[in-house]
Symmetry: C2
Subunit: 226 residues, 2 copies
């Protein structure tokens, strides 16, 4: 405990004075007041990235979907539920940020016909008819901003990781994308990240999420514009 | 902290030697490896009921959906994800139980066409076509057992609480049902329960979930068959 605090204290201050915006956790898309569609995301990776950015001297704002995690020391946290709420919070904060790191597992769709009251099973036991609409693309919208922050995306894939991650990097128009295998990363304390940019990719070994986040912050810092 | 441990220690041992089976938390129904349908349930009420039953001298087995809560002292916990897994775990444990208290927010449906790999957004951005099938009714199946445990159900409703809760009590065929308002109870530490049985209903005041659970255990104990 003391050791980990010392290690944190002595992290190089590579983001000193920078303003970093991080998203973390899942989003929660209501079906009715008690049922939701969500992602298997503990939020641990995004919270580790927020902590690592703070340790590196940055001012950090963390926009978080529902998680059970404590806010990292010195980090300003904004809680949201749905992808549309996360989009609004991020767009409001992104203007003043130097770096945006999108770690949240954002739902691609929301339920258009969500009910204000709890859906009852009817006599026939028939299932609900859900209609979906696409959510806004938070990362792509920030990447499109004029004079917006330097953007890093995350991709959790279950297969074809490098191929899907590089395709996502180009589609979103961001300089760096970080890939991991969803089956390894979800709710785990260890992760194997791969960082992709214009120069290719760099595979990190299996690390604790905080150590992987520190490596990521050290890789981001020298790439930022002055 | 010390006070609460003393209070716990001095709870009347009204369930001494009884075997109590409790379910808690949400269930998680996969859409694909990263997306799930679930309920806004923290598991706090079910964990409080398990703790209160243990404090009252019972042997307690807690079948829990995914939560971030610590297991109450002295309680045996079985972790499950889906409603079908919870059903299997409960049916295996129910034979030896004297009391079954079903607090979990169990999904009514699961996705039949869940994908083994993460669903990709296609070029048209079209939403997934989900097909649902009903989950087994855990409480009703236990209530139907020959020489099964004495059953208590929970109902979280957003409206018409007494009416819906009494209808649920009769439909499930259980001697006691506990109702609460979903908008008040979800993720909160306080709750207002109403207990319904053949004799009518009894409204509890707003209490911490552990105090409400202790009241519930004291109400259950004298109703059990010898």
């Amino acid at each position: 405990e003391l050791l980990s605090e010392l290690v944190a204290f002595f992290q190089p201050k590579v983001l000193s004075g920078k303003r970093v915006l991080v998203t973390a956790g899942p989003t929660s898309e209501p079906i009715d007041p008690v049922r939701v569609i969500t992602n298997r995301s503990s939020g641990k990776m995004g919270y580790a990235v927020a902590q690592a950015a703070r340790e590196a001297g940055a001012h950090v704002v963390l926009v978080s979907g529902p998680t059970a995690l404590p806010t990292p020391y010195g980090v300003a946290r904004i809680n949201v539920d749905s992808a549309r709420q996360m989009h609004a919070a991020v767009m409001a904060e992104a203007r003043g940020a130097d770096v945006f790191i999108s770690v949240a597992a954002v739902a691609d769709w929301h339920v258009v016909n969500a009910s204000d009251n709890k859906l009852k099973k009817n006599a026939a036991g028939s299932a609900p008819q859900l209609t979906f609409a696409p959510n806004p693309d938070i990362l792509a919208d920030v990447a499109r901003m004029t004079a917006g922050p330097w953007c890093v995306g995350f991709a959790a894939e279950t297969e074809n990781l490098l191929e899907y991650a590089e395709a996502k990097r180009r589609r979103k128009g961001v300089p760096m994308l970080v890939g991991n295998l969803a089956q390894q990363a979800m709710n785990a304390d260890l992760t194997e990240l791969v960082m992709l940019d214009d120069a290719g990719h760099r595979q990190l070994p299996e690390l604790s999420k905080i150590d992987a986040a520190r490596q990521l912050i050290r890789a981001i810092a020298p790439r930022l514009p002055d």
